[in-house]
Symmetry: C2
Subunit: 488 residues, 2 copies
Amino acid sequence: MTNKPLIEPQKKQSHLTVDSSSYKSQSKHSFQTVYTYIQTRIQRGDWQAHAKLPSVRQLAEDTGMHRLTIFKAYQHLKEDGHVYARDKSGYYVQPPALQVLTNEAELGLPLFQGNLGELHRIEATYQFSKALITPNLLPNHYFAEYVKQVFDLYPKLLGTYATAQGDLELREMLQRYFTDTAQFHVHADEILITTGAQQAISLIAEVWIRPGDHVLIETPAYASALDVFEQKGAKLVPITIDANGYDLVQIKEAMKKYKPRFFYLNPTFHNPTGVCISAEQRKQLVDLAAQYECLLIEDDTCHDIYFDQKPPLPLFAYDTEGYTIYIRSFSKYVSPGLRMACIVARPEWFTPLLAAKSLADGGTPLLNQKVFLLYFTSSRLQQHIEKLRIALRIRLEIMEEELSSTGWYYETPQGGFNLWVRLPDHLSVPELLARCLKQSISFVPGSLFDRNDTSQQYIRLCFSFASEHEIRQGIQQLVSIAKEMEST
Amino acid sequence: MTNKPLIEPQKKQSHLTVDSSSYKSQSKHSFQTVYTYIQTRIQRGDWQAHAKLPSVRQLAEDTGMHRLTIFKAYQHLKEDGHVYARDKSGYYVQPPALQVLTNEAELGLPLFQGNLGELHRIEATYQFSKALITPNLLPNHYFAEYVKQVFDLYPKLLGTYATAQGDLELREMLQRYFTDTAQFHVHADEILITTGAQQAISLIAEVWIRPGDHVLIETPAYASALDVFEQKGAKLVPITIDANGYDLVQIKEAMKKYKPRFFYLNPTFHNPTGVCISAEQRKQLVDLAAQYECLLIEDDTCHDIYFDQKPPLPLFAYDTEGYTIYIRSFSKYVSPGLRMACIVARPEWFTPLLAAKSLADGGTPLLNQKVFLLYFTSSRLQQHIEKLRIALRIRLEIMEEELSSTGWYYETPQGGFNLWVRLPDHLSVPELLARCLKQSISFVPGSLFDRNDTSQQYIRLCFSFASEHEIRQGIQQLVSIAKEMEST
C-alpha cells in the first residue's frame, strides 16, 4: 500500500488540471533531500543501529523546512526499512540484520517494526502466529440465528446510537455474570463496554500515561499492549514472569522506586507464556497495589479457556481496596466479528475512562452489544465453550507430539491458545522466521513480546487457528527447517 | 454514577474480609485532605474562576502524597462542580455562575464540563440538542432484512476478525462510490474504515497533535472535535465561519504565523451554523494548504443531507497536492446503530493513521461493515435519502414558523440538521437552558461550540430528532419561556 510513489495518486487525479509540478519539484524534492541526508548519515555510521534520530521538530528547526516535510521523509525511510518508530515522538536507526530481512522481496514483510499487526497481515498456509480461534470452531450458525432474533426484539436497533458507556441491559447481564462466576461485587455503572480488549487497553493508556511515566509490564508481555504504552511515551519497567509466576520482591521494589502509573498484567493463561498465577500470589499482588497505591490493570482474555481445572479468581475479586481495573474480552472465543469486551473499574477510575471512551468513538455499536447479549445469555454458549476446550486441547497435544523429537524447552500450558517454546542458542530466530514464511508457515518471534532481548530465543506457536492436520504438517516442516539450519 | 461514595462498592465486597478500614482511614482521608485544601483556596479566592490549578504532579511533589491520591481528589472536585478539566494535563477553577446551575438538583447536569455527551445523556421530551435523525425516519425494517441476508452471504462472518484497515470489499465499494459521486480518484488502499466519524477525528488527533501544537479550527466548531483536540493538548486557533464562509486572509495569516498541524473544518452544512462553503473558496483553501503545507481535515458528515441543490464537491476533490484528509460519516443518516465512517488519505498520511487504528481497537467489527455494504449498495438507500430530505425540510419549516414571532436572528440552512439561532443580548442562555431542561426541552448552548465566547448568545436547535408535533409544541414552549424571562 504505502510503497506507491508519493505522486502517483495526484497523477491519477489530474482531471483537475491545477499545476502539480510545483509539488513534484518543490515538496517532493525537499523531503527527498531530508531522506537522503538521514540515509547517508546512517550509512556513514554517524548514527548507529537503534540510535535515536533527531526529532521531526528538531530537524525542522535545523533545516528550516516544514515539519510535514521532515515527517514525510521519516515515513518513507520507515517504509524502506532504514528507520523504525518506537513511540510517537521518536525514530530510531534500523539495525542492518533486519534490513536484510525486510529487503528480501520474497518476504515483503516489515517485520522490523516490531508490530504484531503487520506480521498478522501475512497470509500463511500454516498459521501459528495469530492467537485466534479458527472460525471452524465457532458457532457461526447460531450467531446468525441470534442476529436475526435481535431485530424481532429490537426493531429500531440500527436506528439508535448506543450510549458511550454501553447498553444498560448488557451491563446488567455482565454484572450478574461477574457476580456469579467471579465473585465480583460490582454495579452496572462500574462496567464500560469496549470494542474489544485492544480498545480497553488503549483507553486506559490514554487516561493514565503521560510521556515519561513509568509502567510495570510483564516480560514477555502482550505485544500490542507494549506498542500502545510506548506510543503514549511510557517508560516500561519489566517484571519477570515464568513458570513460578512473579517475583513479588521485584514488583515491590519497582512500585517503591518508580511510583508507576500502573502494572499491566495478564495473570490468567498469560500471553505469550501460558503461565497462570496462583491464588496466593494474586492476594499478595492486590495488597502490594494498595500499599503503594499502584493501579493493577488486569487483562483477562482467556479466563474460560482452561483445559483441566478452573483458574483462580481474577485479581479484581481479591481486591478490597479498589486498585484493580479489570479488562475482560469475549471477542476471541465468543465472537471475533462482534469485538466485545468490557472494563470493570471503581467509580473514581471510571469517570475519566468513560470520558475517554466518548472521545474515542462515542460508544460501541449497539447492534453488536445486543447480539452478544442474546448469545451470551443462551445455554448454547456453555456447550460451545466446553466443546472448544476439548478441541483446543487436542490441537495442543498434536503440536507437542510433533515437537517432541526436538528437545526444545517449553511448559505445557493449562489454558489459552499458545505454546511458548525456547529454541537452542545457535538457532537464529529471525532466520527461522524468514525461512518459515517462505514456506508459508508463520509464528511470532519472542522479540515482539519483549523490549529487553530476554525472549529472543523464544517463539510463540499458536495452536488455536490451524486445523489438526495443518498443525501436524506445519510443525513437521518447521522442525525440519530448523534441523536443516542446524546441520548447515 | 460517580456520586456514589468511594467506599460503598468495597463494603459490598466484604465477602473477602481483608481489612479495608485502612483504606478508609488512610487513602480516603488523604485524598479528602487534598480536596478540602483546594476547595478552601478556591473559596478564599486564592484561585480565581478559570485559573489553572496546580498539576497533579506538582501537588504530589508539594504534599509528598502519591499522584493517584491527588488525581482522586481532583476527580471528586470535578464531579462536585468545583473544578473542570480542559485538557488532560490541566484542571481549572469552575466559575460560580455555572456551579449554581450544576448545584440545582432538578437539573442534575454537569453542564459546566463543556461536554456535549453529558448534555445528550439527559432525557428530554422535546429533544432539540441531539443532532441525530429520529429512528422513525430510518429504514429500520430494511436494516433487519439486510442483516439477515448478510449471513447467507457470509456464513462465518462473526467468527472472523476484520483487518485493521477495514473490509476490502467495502473499501472497493466506497472507492467506486467516491469516484462516481464526488470525483475522487482514490485507491481502496487509501480508505480506512472507522467506527463513526468520532473515531476518525480521534485517530487524526492521536497521529498529528503533540501538546502545544497549533490547530486551526472554525469558530464555532463541532464540540466533540474541540474536546478531542484540547485533550491532546492542542492550542486552538479560531477561524471565523459565517454566512459568507471563511475569511481566507485570516486563514493565510494563521497558517503563516502558527505553522499549524492542520485545519479541521466542516465546510458542507457546517455544524452548528449550517453554512456551506462555496466552490470558489474550496479551491482557494486547497491552494493555501499546499502553499503552507498545512493539512486540511475535512469532516463531511452531511454531504447528502441537502434540501434544494447538491453542495459543491468536497475539498478532497479539488486537492491535487494531497494535503486534504477526508472524513466521511454514514452513521447519522444511514445507520447510527452500525457506526460507519471512513477516512480517505494519501499514502504518506495513511501509514500512521492505520497504525493508530490498529492500536486503538484493531479494526471496526466485520458484521457492521458487511451489513453496511449490503444496504449502502441497495437501491433503497437512494429512496430513503430522498424521503429523508423532504421530511427534514418540513421539520425545519415548522421550526422556523414557530420562531417567526421572536425576531431572533438565524440563516435558513440549505442542509444538515440544525438551526443556529442568535438570542437577544439581554437573554441569559445558561438560564434559558436551565429553565427549558426543567420543562424537558433540550438544546445546545453556543458556548459548547466555541472557546472564545463569541457564540455565547447563540443556541443550536436540532430539527432532525423531534417529531413535527414535538417541534411545534417544544419551540412554542421555549419561546414562551424566553418571553417570560424577558418580561421579568
